[in-house]
């Protein structure tokens, strides 16, 4: 494919990322690697393929990190795609458990209990 297309793009990065994010170069605030994403709408044929894929894969909750891994796109690109989907109310983004200086005791006890069962 690249042999007859001697464009300037580097082999490992054929689509410039600003195209995928629809021109938004800024990294939207508010997403964490472990923010959970759940689809609230079905994919629509008019959507960007990456966004449609996110809706399909997030039928059950998935973290932003997992979405990034399965799409093979960097975190910053995925958050740009997700912020559009959140704005359109097609996905819900569930923030991680807030951790101030130290986590809540109840959270720690739940994690300890869960780990002991491993």
């Amino acid at each position: 494919m690249t042999s007859e297309n001697p464009g300037p793009w580097n082999e490992g990065n054929p689509v410039p990322l600003y195209v995928i994010t629809g021109g938004s170069g800024s990294s939207p605030e508010g997403f964490n690697l472990v923010t959970l994403i759940v689809a609230r709408a079905a994919p629509d044929p008019s959507m960007q393929p990456e966004q449609a894929t996110i809706l399909t894969m997030c039928a059950y909750p998935l973290s932003v990190a997992e979405v990034s891994a399965y799409l093979s796109l960097p975190f910053s690109v995925v958050t740009a795609l997700l912020s559009q989907l959140v704005e359109d109310e097609r996905v819900e983004a569930i923030a991680p458990v807030p951790v101030a200086a130290y986590p809540e005791r109840g959270l720690l006890e739940a994690v300890i209990h869960g780990l002991r069962k491993l």
């Binding site: 054929p14 690697l33 894929t53």
Partner: protein
């Protein structure tokens, strides 16, 4: 070269990326939390993540970019101002609602730009140490202390690595007395779970101390 995600709309019959059925979370999974495993290259971060994760370890990339990068058509200059670092991570469903994610991140100073995103909201960190290359950990530990990230130190017990008495290591790392220092075999699930539990127990102690203060 894989253009599938760009060319094929979802549902067209082409493979759609996403988790295998067994790697899906429960539908009512409601909250994520994370722990960071930090250490030098080859210390066993990915091995540790894989040993305790309920899914095969995945990789996410973080890119540090500057304005204009990515629209630079000048051949030979691509990538000059970008740094991409792959982070391996895994997942443990703690209960029906809570999901613990484990991220492995390199400890060298040139990767510290990642730390803002990665440590934000983290419960704490496991510093994984290879006794053959202990120097990576000095700066990591200082940096974690500066950021007030609670951590434990886990010494990965490579068979060929020199064995030091725990107290010698504690002195060499200038660790506070209260910071747990544990031996860990990064290939072993129970051993990695115990390292994570030592972090949780330590956090529990810190919280209890704060409550009575």
């Amino acid at each position: 070269m894989d253009y599938a995600s760009s060319d094929a709309p979802a549902g067209s019959g082409a493979p759609v990326p996403g988790p295998r059925g067994t790697d899906m979370l429960l539908p009512h999974s409601a909250r994520g939390v994370k722990v960071v495993i930090v250490g030098g290259f080859g210390v066993g971060k990915t091995t540790m993540v894989g040993a305790v994760s309920e899914i095969p370890p995945l990789t996410t990339e973080e890119t540090m970019t500057q304005a204009g990068v990515g629209i630079d058509h000048n051949p030979g200059a691509e990538g000059k101002n970008t740094t991409t670092v792959a982070m391996d991570f895994g997942r443990i469903s703690i209960n029906q609602e809570l999901v613990l994610y484990l991220f492995g991140t390199p400890g060298q100073e040139r990767f510290w730009f990642l730390w803002n995103g990665i440590f934000e909201g983290a419960l704490g960190a496991v510093v994984l140490v290879d006794t053959r290359r202990i120097e990576v950990c000095f700066e990591v530990i200082t940096r974690l202390e500066d950021r007030r990230v609670p951590f434990v130190v886990a010494v990965n017990t490579f068979p060929e690595a020199p064995q030091y008495p725990v107290e010698d290591l504690r002195a060499a790392l200038a660790l506070g007395e209260s910071v747990p220092l544990v031996a860990c075999d990064a290939r072993d699930r129970a051993s990695c779970r115990d390292a994570l539990l030592s972090l949780m127990d330590y956090l529990h102690t810190l919280v209890a101390a704060q409550e009575t203060a």
